[in-house]
């Protein structure tokens, strides 16, 4: 069933904002998505009615808030179909989650001479933590190359494995150009070499169903703020068997079991990895976002976004001197482009005046930009609350840009 777009747009209060005296056209969804009323109100309600620090509290509000937080964990478990609640670790975001694994997995399993495989279309957050780990341990980073469409080269991938390979860290969806990587197949390949796989799902969970068991991902990581939830919260999923083996990352607060100055023992999963007071209100807000996505229907969302991408691609292709990057067969509705002889920044400044929010620059994917010999692109990232009319407005603005700068 197609989505009722008017109803949906009503769910997002910010979409009624005016920017430079024009109705906001929000095409910066890959940076962060807007929030439905349901999410905003879920947090507002806690602050007004039940807020209390969680765990170990004997009083009513603490009990209530703890339950809500643990229910949120269960909601997230269902959302990505993890086997156990305690495989869901709340983190401050994707970057924090990747850093956690880079440290804990690195301490346990990565030695001098070992290798870690990442791809050429990773976000900096899935590059630099591995570089740092490699530097600390004397390990080596191997890169899966891409073709001109922005697709990973599968034959090259297979060839990167060696007996030294310890981990593959791979984005599910590329934030710069929207490519959906064939992660299920790639995980299978890695597992054939007995190498576990971390998936950066920051650009994936908001665009379609993700089933971590079906993917057989060893780690799966994402951010709340990119899936219609609040800032300051994210999720690290890890298989119980692996998480159990890893040493803790940050320490202090509820994550410890017994503390003395001589010896400290750690709490069980998931608490072992949740040091300090977690962002429990953020966690509850994130669960509200997951609920919202489920209710709206992830298949319906994917279908609508596919339609937007097709329309957008068609309309942009009509504009002379406009070059789209990333033409993977399988991608989310991100349109990343440049205009002949026009600096993305100049274009962005003018497009902004039309009330249209696009992002310009390297999108935290410098190595990718270098691959194509460009400094940056103009990126319009659309989601299900966007419309054809908004795409038309973007085209109008782009025409204006061309007229002004040529």
């Amino acid at each position: 069933m197609a989505l009722d777009i008017n109803k949906i747009r009503n769910d997002f209060p910010i979409l009624k904002q005016m920017v430079h005296n024009r109705p906001l056209v929000y095409f910066d969804n890959a940076a962060t998505t807007q929030k439905p009323v349901k999410v905003i109100e879920s947090m507002d309600r806690i602050y007004r009615e039940t807020n209390s620090n969680i765990h170990r509290g004997v009083h009513h509000l603490s009990d209530l808030t703890t339950r809500h937080f643990e229910e949120a964990r269960e909601t997230i478990r269902k959302f990505i179909n993890a086997r156990h609640d305690h495989e869901i670790i709340f983190t401050p975001g994707t970057t924090a989650g990747i850093n956690l694994v880079a440290f804990s997995f690195g301490e346990k399993y990565v030695r001098q001479g070992d290798e870690i495989i990442i791809s050429a279309i990773e976000h900096h957050s899935n590059i630099v933590p591995w570089q740092m780990l490699c530097e600390r341990k004397g390990a080596k980073l191997k890169i899966i190359p891409i073709n001109d469409h922005g697709e990973l080269l599968m034959d090259q991938y297979e060839m990167l494995f060696s007996s030294e390979t310890r981990l593959v860290a791979l984005t599910h969806v590329a934030n710069s150009i929207g490519t959906i990587n064939p992660v299920k197949k790639m995980i299978e390949t890695a597992h054939r070499h007995e190498v576990p796989v971390l998936i950066d799902g920051a650009q994936a969970v908001q665009h379609g169903r993700v089933d971590v068991q079906d993917l057989d991902a060893d780690f799966y990581i994402f951010s709340g703020h990119k899936m219609y939830g609040p800032t300051g919260i994210g999720v690290l999923y890890g298989k119980e068997a692996i998480l159990d083996e890893l040493p803790p990352y940050q320490t202090g607060g509820e994550m410890v079991d017994q503390v003395s100055f001589e010896k400290t023992t750690f709490n069980r999963l998931p608490f072992k990895f949740e040091a300090g007071t977690p962002n429990y209100i953020g966690g509850i807000g994130l669960a509200a976002a997951a609920d919202y996505l489920q209710e709206t229907g992830l298949d319906e969302i994917a279908a609508r976004e596919k339609d937007l991408l097709e329309y957008g691609n068609k309309r942009l292709a009509e504009i002379g001197g406009l070059h789209l990057f990333g033409e993977a067969g399988n991608k989310i509705s991100i349109m990343s482009f440049i205009l002949d002889d026009i600096h993305p920044y100049d274009a962005g400044m003018i497009i902004d005046k039309y009330g249209i929010a696009v992002r310009t620059g390297n999108h935290c994917a410098q190595p990718f930009m270098e691959r194509f010999g460009i400094r940056g692109t103009i990126r319009a990232s659309l989601v299900f609350y966007n419309t054809h009319q908004e795409i038309d407005l973007l085209c109008e603005a782009v025409e204006k840009v061309k007229q002004m700068f040529n």
Binding site: R56, V58, E70
Partner: protein, 145 residues
């Protein structure tokens, strides 16, 4: 002993608690019950039998007597101990199968659910899990034979 089923005993307890008007009566009753709990022998109050809760500790001892699981338990907190008394009354002297198959719903129904909140860290949730695990272990063992 234990001619009645676990479900019957649960219903009995629900009826008993039905006469209480407010939490005060219920908690006073729990305090009374705590005194009725056969005290676990000090020699069993060892780490081996300890179920650590952050707030209060629970000791649980399990034996198999004539094909039935017998639980003895204790806690350093009185209210926890009162609830333990109820749990022992329902679950002790049972065949493993019954322990495994029966849903424990009475705690909720008598309005003491909060005491089983995992967040209370009073050891009770772990204790119930432990009781079921013992039952499972005994069952597995008896099937082996």
């Amino acid at each position: 002993m234990a001619e009645k089923t676990m479900t019957e005993i649960q219903e009995e307890i629900i009826e008993e608690f039905g006469i209480f008007d407010d939490w005060l009566d219920k908690y006073n009753y729990l305090i009374d019950l705590s005194k009725s709990l056969p005290i676990i022998d000090a020699k069993f109050k060892t780490p081996e039998f300890l179920i650590e809760g952050c707030q209060s500790s629970v000791w649980l001892k399990t034996e198999m007597v004539d094909g039935k699981v017998v639980f003895t338990a204790d806690s350093d907190a009185i209210i926890t101990k009162g609830i333990i008394a109820l749990l022992v009354r329902v679950m002790s002297h049972r065949q493993p199968e019954e322990i495994l198959d029966t849903d424990l719903y009475f705690i909720d129904r008598i309005g003491l659910k909060e005491n089983l909140s995992p967040t209370r860290s009073n050891g009770l949730v772990s204790m119930i899990r432990q009781m079921k695990l013992y039952a499972l272990a005994y069952q597995a063992k008896s099937k082996q034979k």
